[in-house]
Symmetry: C2
Subunit: 205 residues, 2 copies
């Protein structure tokens, strides 16, 4: 994984084994969050599950919050990179195709590990003021903004408002689906596509 997953590390891991340790910690944290929620999410439990001593954990993370922040940031980055890749891959294609490509990424991201996605989503709200996280969010915004600009559609509101709302609609429907335990990705995609397209004024379905 990239170095961005370890923000504010107390010590920069330089040897290979320490990188493995950091990775094990983040993986363990994710598994606990996914399987037990916030109740079991303690630094001691994370260290134990990672097969690492609590001392080692605090050698690379200044506090518990930093672990969560790293987890959330890595997740946001993965999503953004997926969107970027989809955007690049569908360059030149008509807007509808490009939108579908982006939705596929978002939905795959949601459907992959729904329980984890839900927990990370909740933590993401709590850590919304983290500058590194905000930067990734802004990058995602920029991507969608550009997509809308190039779509040639006559937008119902200002570019910024439409960008914000498209995000809100997509994430809103996705999160709700996650909370309700929906598993049908195709249905989800069809509904989100319809919601976004009709909002933008493009011919839906």
């Amino acid at each position: 994984m990239t170095s961005a997953e370890t923000p504010t590390p107390r010590k920069r891991p330089v040897q290979a084994r320490s990188a493995i340790t950091v990775d094990a910690i983040l993986t363990a944290a994710a598994h606990i969050l996914e399987g037990e929620g916030m109740e079991g999410y303690t630094t001691n439990a994370i260290a134990a599950r990672a097969g690492v001593s609590i001392g080692s954990l605090y050698q690379y993370f200044p506090n518990k919050e930093a672990i969560t922040a790293a987890l959330v940031l890595a997740d946001a980055e993965r999503l953004y990179e997926g969107l970027q890749a989809a955007s690049d891959a569908s360059a030149g294609a008509p807007f509808l195709s490009r939108l579908e490509a982006l939705l596929d990424v978002v939905i795959a991201h949601q459907m992959d590990r729904p329980a984890l996605a839900r927990m990370i989503d909740m933590e993401e709200r709590r850590l919304a003021h983290d500058p590194a996280l905000q930067a990734v969010h802004e990058a995602g915004f920029a991507l969608v903004r550009q997509e809308l600009q190039q779509s040639g559609l006559s937008l119902p509101f200002g570019l910024e408002a439409c960008t914000v709302d498209v995000f809100a609609i997509v994430l809103g429907i996705c999160d709700t689906a996650g909370e309700r335990g929906e598993t049908d990705g195709d249905s989800l995609k069809a509904r989100i596509r319809h919601a976004v397209l009709s909002y933008l004024g493009g011919r839906p379905s």
Copy 2:
């Protein structure tokens, strides 16, 4: 406030003064949540702010979670009652008017105390499995479901899916607006109305 705000009370308040105590506790809890977030949200702080001893607090709430649950439930009930009232008041009116009446309630609820709304929203996700809360949610669903049924619109998806999505769209845009600190209720309403109407296939703005 109604008795529904005190679920699972350790002791049912029967005298007037104890009702005041319970009310003071809930009010204090809301104020702390609104002003300091989860960091300052401790039972001792709540009791202190309420001008009540910690012992009194635990005479009416079995644990801290019950206070939060009562807060969230009261909020959800207030919203639902507002929707119900708006629905009743606009009986017989065309769908667009009725939708606007409902949106006014939602937006007023969001704009009234945005910081508190945001915190309650977060806790609401965490407590999503609370039966009493689920019941209120279901009541809200039923209201919107009926509204859609009576609209005469030919829905783009099944009634249930449309109900869920309308909720998700409205709350998604609202929450995002709250997080971004938006203060223009009119703009918000226009966008949400557009999003919902276009999703449903009714002629937007």
